[in-house]
């Protein structure tokens, strides 16, 4: 068995595990189990975000590897990062930035800006604005202006229970709503960039 078939690499957001891509998966599993056992005392019962690299593994294989970790150690796997992130995962990763929670309405003339994501528990009234480098979630009606990903991150999204804004901005994209759409209750909706356009779809499928 090769000595370095499994390599652990510390990253600022967790542990990256580089897997050998030549051996069979069963061989790899054994090597992985040995490696995990030897590292058991090092990690103890840490909360770890883990990502796999170096080898294509399917969901089933990934689950097996995670099971090995939880069987042999008391590490708590808090987040799984794959090499190939799906778009939705990318979007939600932005949530890992510090999120500001605001309880109450944002009224006309008021502005809330933050470097992370913003969650509003209340309404954003006409004339109010929310500007975030991350995502914007409004547990209420969005009737004012919201700007997500304000420093150019087009992966960000804006979601609201009732999305009827004067204007939506995501990164450098701007869209405004004609009067016909104004105040129309469509249920919870999410806006994000798709094919170079701000795209709104229902959150309830």
């Amino acid at each position: 068995m090769k000595e370095n078939s499994i390599i652990f690499k510390g990253k600022n957001n967790g542990i990256q595990i580089i897997l050998d891509n030549k051996m069979s998966f069963n061989e790899l599993k054994t090597a992985f189990e040995n490696k995990i056992k030897s590292a058991k005392n090092f990690f103890k019962d840490a909360d770890l975000s883990i990502s796999f690299k170096g080898r294509e593994i399917n969901e089933l294989e990934e689950k097996e590897l995670i099971d090995i970790i939880s069987k042999n150690t008391s590490i708590n796997v808090s987040f799984l990062n794959n090499n190939e992130l799906k778009t939705s995962e990318k979007v939600f990763n932005a949530l890992k930035n510090i999120t500001v929670f605001h309880k109450g309405s944002i009224r006309n003339g008021q502005s809330l800006k933050d470097n992370g994501s913003i969650v509003i528990i209340g309404d954003v009234n006409p004339g109010g604005e929310i500007i975030a480098r991350g995502n914007i979630i409004i547990l209420g009606s969005l009737k004012g202006i919201a700007h997500a990903g304000c420093d150019g991150n087009a992966d960000c999204f804006i979601a609201a229970f009732n999305l009827c804004p004067m204007q939506l901005r995501i990164a450098d994209f701007i869209t405004y709503f004609s009067d016909g759409n104004f105040n129309k209750a469509n249920g919870a909706e999410i806006a994000r960039i798709k094919n170079g356009q701000i795209f709104i779809e229902s959150l309830i499928h």
Partner: protein
């Protein structure tokens, strides 16, 4: 326990002064000792609406500048002896008084009066800041128009930022016929946006114009619909539970008959 209530709106012409005059008079009718302060320095109106214009000798600025005693500037109403008006100066501007001076004035008045009603000027600048400085409670007046509601929303935000949380709302000049046709915002549409408790609704009423011209607040007129609305609001300020006015009521003979049958 005396209370300082500021009547504000942001937008001009929605009925702040009319509301101040009617609430002040309404509270005086209930036997309370009331002082009304006109904070609209340079554009005073409350004295005209109250019909006390010709009695002004000293004003608010004279008091804070020490040119007269507080009692000298307070004008006693011609109908109610427990109702007083502190008129604004007409030849000065809003910078002639500071929020601190206003707070001090309110504190002094609180010793002698049950209620102090402040008529706030339009806008969000110095005049507004002066008017709200000494207030314990705020009443926001709006009409069912988009622009007035926008401004009311802005004002509510500013009030909350200045520790006047939970202001209440008076929706003025409602026209039931237009609401019914969908041409005017209904009370529900307004409260949905502003999300504050409603203190009262006042129907659009010609008698308000007549009473303003005569210098007699409509609240004293038993036949005025708006007057009834203001009497109800007065009761709510006093802490009594009065249901919101049913503006749909048509007092035609046939309608009355119909209602009678419906009730049975």
């Amino acid at each position: 326990m005396s209370e300082v209530i500021v009547i504000t709106s942001g937008k001009g012409g929605v009925g702040k002064t009319t509301t101040s005059a009617n609430l002040g008079t309404g509270l005086a009718m209930e036997g309370k000792k009331v002082a009304m302060i006109d904070a609209d320095i340079g554009l005073r109106n409350l004295d005209v609406i109250m019909g006390l214009e010709n009695r002004i000798v000293y004003d608010l600025i004279d008091v804070v500048e020490g040119k007269c005693r507080l009692k000298q500037a307070l004008i006693r109403d011609k109908r109610f002896e427990n109702l007083f008006l502190m008129p604004a100066a007409q030849t000065k501007d809003k910078d002639s008084i500071s929020p601190e001076q206003m707070t001090k004035l309110c504190e002094t008045l609180k010793e002698d009066f049950d209620y102090i009603i402040i008529d706030c000027p339009a806008g969000i600048e110095r005049g507004f800041k002066n008017a709200i400085a000494g207030a314990d409670k705020a009443v926001v007046v709006t009409t069912p128009e988009v622009s007035a509601v926008r401004d009311a929303d802005r004002i509510i935000g500013l009030l909350e930022a200045n520790n006047l949380s939970r202001p209440t709302l008076i929706l003025n000049r409602i026209r039931v016929d237009m609401v019914r046709k969908g041409d005017m915002m209904a009370m529900e549409d307004v409260t949905e946006i502003l999300a504050i408790d409603i203190l009262g609704i006042v129907p659009d009423d010609e008698s308000i114009v007549v009473s303003a011209n005569k210098g007699e607040p409509a609240v004293t007129d038993d036949n005025s619909k708006a007057g009834t609305a203001y009497r109800n609001i007065t009761q709510r300020i006093l802490g009594n539970n009065v249901p919101l006015m049913d503006l749909d009521v048509d007092n035609g003979f046939l309608k009355k008959l119909k209602r009678l049958f419906k009730a049975n």
